[in-house]
């Protein structure tokens, strides 16, 4: 009977946390900024190259970064309020709350998918000229970044329960992205999350100038493996089944390595 209660509490908790995450001011602001950026690009800076970039990597920046901070704040809310001891008396364990937080990251991911689809429809209706339409894998990159941001936010809240730690994680991510972004010629930029698939060319960077080398399908698998790794990392913190989550984490590391190499030209 106890087991039944525990099993059924996770989806209900996940729905509640997803609702909380989706209503978080940072998440709302992130998606609003993405819409604003799309409108501004449409009005002031339109061309095949910016249009392609907006579809493939715009979500890594605008909804992605705020979703990371929102997920971290939501997952750490009980600790920051000093309520962890009170929650300890409830039937749902800390592991189940972490699992629910991880599942809640699917909320912003689904919204990101919907926004991406709406943008695609908008492109089709407006007849936006692109050098070529992005593949399904390329369209998935933005929502996958949003999913990874949510899961990494939960992992950050569980493993680094100190003020300012989430900022440090974000700064480290930005640094890593800046480092790898200079390697477009070798495909090294695909190790980043904000990967530029189209060549920018000369100022004003609007013309279609071809694409940077690399396999974007493998890049989507690479991002998905990173997402799963972040989820396994979050679960590893409190779960009594540490070996299981260590094994899952090891598998995702292998998947990241294989996909990381596979995406190179």
């Amino acid at each position: 009977m106890t087991v039944e209660v525990r099993v059924s509490s996770v989806p209900a908790l996940a729905v509640a946390k997803a609702r909380r995450l989706l209503r978080h001011p940072l998440v709302l602001a992130g998606f609003a900024l993405f819409v604003l950026a799309s409108v501004v690009e449409l009005r002031d800076y339109w061309g095949p190259r910016p249009a392609f970039s907006l579809l493939t990597n715009g979500m890594a920046l605008w909804p992605g970064v705020p979703v990371f901070f929102a997920a971290e704040l939501v997952a750490s809310a009980s600790r920051r309020a000093g309520g962890d001891e009170l929650l300890g008396a409830l039937p749902a364990s800390r592991t189940q709350r972490t699992a629910a937080s991880c599942l809640a990251a699917l909320g912003p991911f689904l919204v990101a998918c919907a926004v991406q689809m709406a943008l695609c429809v908008g492109y089709a209706v407006q007849g936006v000229s692109l050098e070529r339409f992005p593949t399904v894998f390329e369209l998935a990159l933005g929502p996958l970044c949003v999913l990874g941001a949510g899961l990494l936010g939960v992992a950050s809240a569980r493993w680094l329960p100190w003020a300012g730690a989430s900022v440090l994680v974000m700064v480290a991510l930005v640094f890593f992205n800046v480092v790898v972004n200079g390697n477009e010629a070798t495909g090294g930029h695909l190790f980043g999350f904000y990967a530029e698939l189209a060549v920018w060319g000369p100022w004003p960077y609007r013309a279609a100038m071809g694409f940077n080398p690399g396999h974007t399908g493998w890049h989507a698998v690479y991002l998905l493996a990173l997402c799963l790794g972040a989820g396994a990392l979050a679960m590893l913190r409190d779960s009594p089944r540490r070996r299981f989550w260590l094994g899952a984490g090891a598998l995702t590391v292998i998947a990241v390595a294989v996909a990381g190499l596979g995406q190179l030209p």
Partner: protein, 205 residues
């Protein structure tokens, strides 16, 4: 209070920010545009670290002390500035060789507006929470992302616009609003309580 600062203040994030600034400054990036973005990163990182200086775990205990809230806020903000300002000056000295002089002034205005604006936001949040830094930092990040997404006629962080003077007039407006916001957020709630009409219970014999 200054002598007790290490125990009263959450100084670790600002110390971490100073280390990140050191990495940013030694990072090799070519051209004056690289210098501009380096200094913008320095301003953002320093401000994010400084916001944690307004975290006050003992806020409820210190609320009834004779020093009013504005004084406590000014002391904390002043100590943050004491660390951040020398670091900013060093950053300007490091980058000055590759930046036009006017940009050093403009970027200092941007830093001042970010710094004061961030502190004002944290002080506002601090009226209802003992740890405003944790909440104010994401707010600052969203402000920066909004500045990046802003259309041309409202640009704050653009490099391509030829109307940089207008952009920095806007930053000056942000700075003025931030100063007013900081002053408003630092009003001591006790003043309102003192001036409030006594309740019927209090006037009973």
């Amino acid at each position: 209070m200054a002598a007790m600062a290490p125990r009263l203040l959450r100084w670790q994030p600002l110390a971490g920010a100073v280390m990140i600034v050191a990495v940013v400054l030694v990072w090799p990036d070519a051209g004056w545009k690289g210098g501009v973005w380096s200094l913008r990163a320095v301003a953002l990182v320093l401000t994010m670290g400084a916001l944690f200086f307004l975290d006050d775990a003992s806020a409820e205990v210190t609320a009834p002390v004779p020093a009013p809230l504005w004084l406590r806020t000014v002391v904390r903000a002043g100590l943050a500035l004491l660390v951040a300002l020398p670091v900013w000056i060093v950053a300007l000295l490091v980058e000055r060789s590759r930046l036009p002089e006017v940009w050093l002034l403009w970027l200092s205005v941007e830093f001042a507006a970010l710094f004061v604006g961030g502190l004002a936001f944290a002080a506002l949040l601090g009226r209802g929470a003992p740890e405003p830094g944790v909440l104010a930092v994401p707010g600052l990040v969203v402000f920066t992302l909004a500045a990046l997404a802003a259309p041309g006629e409202w640009t704050l962080l653009g490099l391509q616009t030829t109307d940089w003077t207008i952009a920095h007039v806007r930053w000056s407006v942000v700075l003025s609003v931030a100063l007013a916001g900081l002053a408003w957020a630092s009003r001591d709630p006790a003043w309102r309580r003192r001036s409030a009409r006594p309740s019927s219970m209090a006037t009973r014999p």
